[in-house]
């Protein structure tokens, strides 16, 4: 008796199947994480329990989850758009920082003289612009010179991070900071209202939800979204249909970068109220956003759910990190494992696994998974 395992393309996929596969992949991901914890000598159930208790269990945890969900929803939506066109934007991290920098400039220079109703929109506009510029260049390099966007967007992350370091260590270092690498605190007109007992900056949250909806409309209902999807699915057909690859790529990266830029504004105006080290401004949101977009099946509305989910893991991860004394990178390892199992899940969504038990030469029983 022999066991054979085969892979076959699925004829079709259905929504229940998609949900089942996503849940199953997450389950497998968590099992792997549990295994990893067990190896470290930590009771996995206890630790995973702590993660969820930390992020979704207490009021404070929920607040933190939403707080971290805000940039993830914004970035995930923007990346969903870029990935639709198969433009692999790995640079949301840099686009976020770029937005944070430009809006900080507004906060430091204009905010003291103007009321919040003017400053806040201006800051978000500046943030969008900053992110957009940082998204624009890789797009231009791609359509003009054929530079691979994975490399260019990734490199741009380092450039802006070092530029930010230079600013806060040099010209922008606050006079009142006694040598610490922070800018001065933003004036009150440049800070966002936080919900009581939390750090949830309401304005950005509403903005993120609105933009998720707008991006959804953009992708599924507009001419631009249609063209983006055609470009992503078949570049040759897009050319045949007279769809402008140059223009659409530039626009979509301006939007995608702008979304990340606004996330950056939320972080500085809503939480920190000053500009500081890159890793303080963003705990890897630009990269986690990739998982958010992927988990949402490149649908900005679903990115609200997946964004909050991954935020929960980040918050819970922080909790276990502190209470169990795990290294700081642990959360990222968890995220990596989850992304990995989700991508594996995608594979099984498209393909069917056949397990065959053969007794004689030809007789067989098959079961599909």
């Amino acid at each position: 008796m022999k066991l054979f395992i085969k892979v076959e393309r699925r004829d079709s996929t259905s929504i229940p199947l998609t949900i089942a596969v996503i849940l199953l992949s997450l389950l497998i991901g968590f099992c792997l994480i549990a295994g990893l914890l067990a190896i470290q000598g930590i009771d996995p159930l206890f630790a995973l329990g702590k993660i969820f208790a930390g992020s979704f269990g207490r009021i404070y945890g929920i607040g933190e989850t939403i707080t971290k969900g805000i940039p993830l929803i914004l970035i995930g939506g923007g990346l969903a758009l870029a990935f639709r066109a198969k433009f692999w934007n790995i640079g949301a991290e840099g686009q976020l920082l770029s937005g944070a920098i430009l809006s900080t400039w507004i906060a430091l220079n204009w905010a003291p003289h103007l009321p919040a109703v003017i400053v806040i929109p201006l800051m978000f506009l500046a943030g969008f612009l900053g992110g957009a510029v940082w998204g624009f260049f890789p797009a231009l390099f791609k359509v003009r010179f054929g530079v691979n966007e994975v490399i260019s967007t990734l490199m741009m992350n380092y450039i802006i991070a070092e530029f930010l370091n230079m600013l806060i260590l040099g010209p922008w270092r606050g006079e009142s900071r006694m040598g610490f690498p922070y800018t001065d605190s933003f004036p009150p007109s440049a800070t966002l209202y936080q919900l009581p007992n939390s750090r949830v900056h309401l304005f950005t949250l509403i903005l993120a939800l609105c933009f998720a909806f707008l991006l959804f409309l953009l992708i599924y209902r507009t001419k631009f979204g249609y063209e983006v999807r055609v470009i992503g699915e078949n570049r040759d057909a897009a050319r045949y249909a007279g769809i402008d690859f140059f223009r659409n790529t530039i626009i979509l990266m301006v939007i995608s970068g702008g979304m990340a830029g606004m996330a950056g504004v939320g972080e500085v105006a809503g939480i920190h109220h000053h500009l500081t080290y890159p890793q303080m401004i963003s705990s890897g949101y630009g990269y986690t956003g990739i998982i958010v977009a992927w988990l949402a099946k490149l649908n900005p509305l679903l990115a609200i759910i997946s964004g909050l989910f991954l935020a929960g893991i980040l918050v819970g991860g922080d909790a276990v990190q502190i209470s169990l004394g795990l290294p700081a990178a642990t959360v990222h390892v968890f995220n990596g494992i989850l992304l990995f199992s989700l991508i594996m899940g995608d594979y099984f969504l498209l393909n069917r696994l056949l397990i065959t038990i053969r007794r004689d030469r030809a007789e067989g029983r098959t079961g599909g998974v």
């Binding site: 085969k6 004829d11 507009t222 001419k223 999807r229 078949n234 057909a237 249909a241 007279g242 402008d244």
Partner: protein, 509 residues
């Protein structure tokens, strides 16, 4: 591996959401036989062969090789059993060389320097069957005929005894088809069995020993090819008589719609593909461009439709200079285009049928209004196209990739004609269509001609050229060997012109 002496498919049934592609199909073939598989677009031929090749699992039915039941769960199983398949659309890796493509998936290749061994074996096949290809060329440099040969060799390398060819000739030039038939006959003589799918009845009649006809997923007839003729086969296939002769009304052509003057275009490798070409097509006129493909037809079409820059010369549409204008502008001026490579250019396989129906017109009313696309209008438009062009699809909300090859072609044609264009540039419009659909499309082209559009028809099918064209141009090495009213020229002259050994001028000029 044992030889396949006989193969039987019994009671094969396969359903997809919304359609039953195969329904209780029985089929048998034995060693040395060439079996033709015939059927309308969407009859289930490709599906049946994909089952045999292990790509799909049948819902019901068994497959017997040499009398014993086998389970084919993947192409690996089928290849191990000695079944090889050349798909309707090529599956070669364009940037790799021939030898590299063959080595991929060739399990006996040695670990070190596999290419050397492959090249040696390749020579053997070339001599045995007359399959000639140069091993070191990259696939993108090959003509369709050569790519076909590579696919066949790939199957032979993997030890195929039974070879399935899904519409192999629809992309071949007539001499390439003749070569292919020579090769296949030699293979049959060596004991191979061959299943051959084609919509061209003459091909089935000249090549095959036996033919099985499918309709709507069922076997509706089987015959010895010595005992049937074209008309009988066509009737078996569509269940009614097909008109092989169309009547073309005499019309007086109107003003010129397309004017090409001194046009020079370069090909992919920088060579001059179209050389100082001048011609015009008028309203109510079909200009047929005959010629073996690869003589600049593709470049000419692409230059006219804005997909390729012209080196020099001008293209005018309805009096407007559109030389080197964008594809969108030219399409907005009323130029429709049925592209040569339909899957690659004509559709977006992963998006819905209705979304594909507005490709090229998605940016204009009635589909695009204000900010948003009007999906109600889009869906209505697409159901209209499906209905009037008899595209078989479960609904408009399925991805185009689920449609059969011929139905995709009908969809493209329907879409391109639905825009009421002033000029239709149609490259091989009836490639891969069954006789019924071919008849329908040709009538449609003639009807649109009567309504006043002009058509630039590129085809290798001389029958089609003669049936449809008012004037015939023969293209050879980027030039026209003459543009002649259809009544003043015969097949023989056209053949000579296609080979470049004769030039003709229109009389009275």
């Amino acid at each position: 591996m044992k030889k396949i002496l006989s193969l039987k498919m019994e009671g094969i049934t396969k359903a997809f959401p919304g359609v039953i592609a195969n329904r209780g199909i029985c089929l048998s073939i034995h060693s040395g036989e060439i079996l033709g598989l015939l059927g309308e677009n969407g009859a289930g031929k490709t599906t049946l062969m994909n089952i045999l090749y292990g790509l799909y699992r049948p819902d019901e039915g068994t497959i017997l090789i040499n009398g014993e039941p086998v389970v084919l769960n993947s192409p690996r199983d089928s290849i191990r059993m000695g079944i090889g398949m050349v798909h309707q659309h090529f599956m070669l890796i364009q940037n790799h060389t021939v030898a590299e493509n063959i080595t991929l998936g060739y399990k006996d290749a040695p670990f070190f320097f596999p290419l050397r061994e492959v090249e040696k074996k390749l020579k053997g096949f070339s001599e045995l069957y007359g399959l000639e290809v140069s091993a070191r060329k990259a696939v993108w440099q090959l003509s369709a005929g050569e790519q076909q040969r590579v696919e066949i060799i790939k199957a032979l390398f993997r030890g195929a005894h039974l070879l399935i060819l899904d519409e192999p000739t629809s992309v071949l030039t007539p001499p390439e088809t003749a070569d292919l038939f020579e090769i296949l006959k030699r293979m049959a003589k060596e004991g191979h069995s061959i299943i051959f799918i084609s919509h061209k009845l003459e091909e089935i009649l000249t090549l095959c020993n036996r033919v099985v006809v499918l309709r709507k997923g069922e076997v509706v007839g089987e015959a010895d090819t010595r005992e049937v003729d074209k008309v009988a086969l066509a009737r078996m296939m569509v269940g009614r008589d097909i008109v092989f002769d169309l009547t073309r009304k005499k019309l007086t052509p109107g003003d010129p719609v397309l004017e090409v003057d001194n046009l020079t275009v370069r090909g992919d490798r920088g060579e001059v593909a179209v050389r100082e070409l001048s011609f015009s097509v008028c309203r109510r006129e079909i200009l047929g461009v005959a010629g073996i493909s690869g003589n600049g037809q593709r470049e000419l079409v692409e230059a006219i439709t804005g997909l390729r820059p012209a080196d020099s010369g001008t293209v005018r549409v309805a009096g407007r200079d559109v030389t080197n204008s964008s594809a969108r502008l030219i399409s907005d001026y009323g130029v429709s285009h049925v592209p040569e490579e339909r899957i690659k250019f004509g559709v977006v396989p992963n998006i819905m049928v209705y979304e594909n129906c507005i490709l090229k017109r998605h940016h204009r009313p009635p589909f695009f209004r204000g900010l948003f696309l009007d999906y109600d209008a889009v869906k209505e438009h697409s159901s209209r196209i499906l209905k009037s062009f008899k595209v078989a699809a479960p609904s408009t909300s399925v991805p185009v990739k689920n449609l059969s090859g011929g139905n995709i072609q009908k969809l493209i044609l329907g879409r391109e004609l639905a825009g009421e264009p002033c000029l239709l540039v149609a490259a091989h419009p009836t490639y891969g269509l069954d006789v019924g659909a071919t008849e329908y499309i040709r009538t449609q082209l003639l009807e649109h001609r009567e309504r006043g559009i002009s058509v630039l028809l590129i085809s290798e099918d001389l029958e089609e050229i003669f049936q449809l064209s008012d004037r015939i141009a023969v293209m050879f090495k980027g030039e026209f060997m003459g543009v002649i009213p259809a009544g003043e020229v015969n097949m023989e002259d056209i053949g000579l012109m296609m080979a470049g050994s004769k030039r003709l001028e229109a009389r009275g000029k």
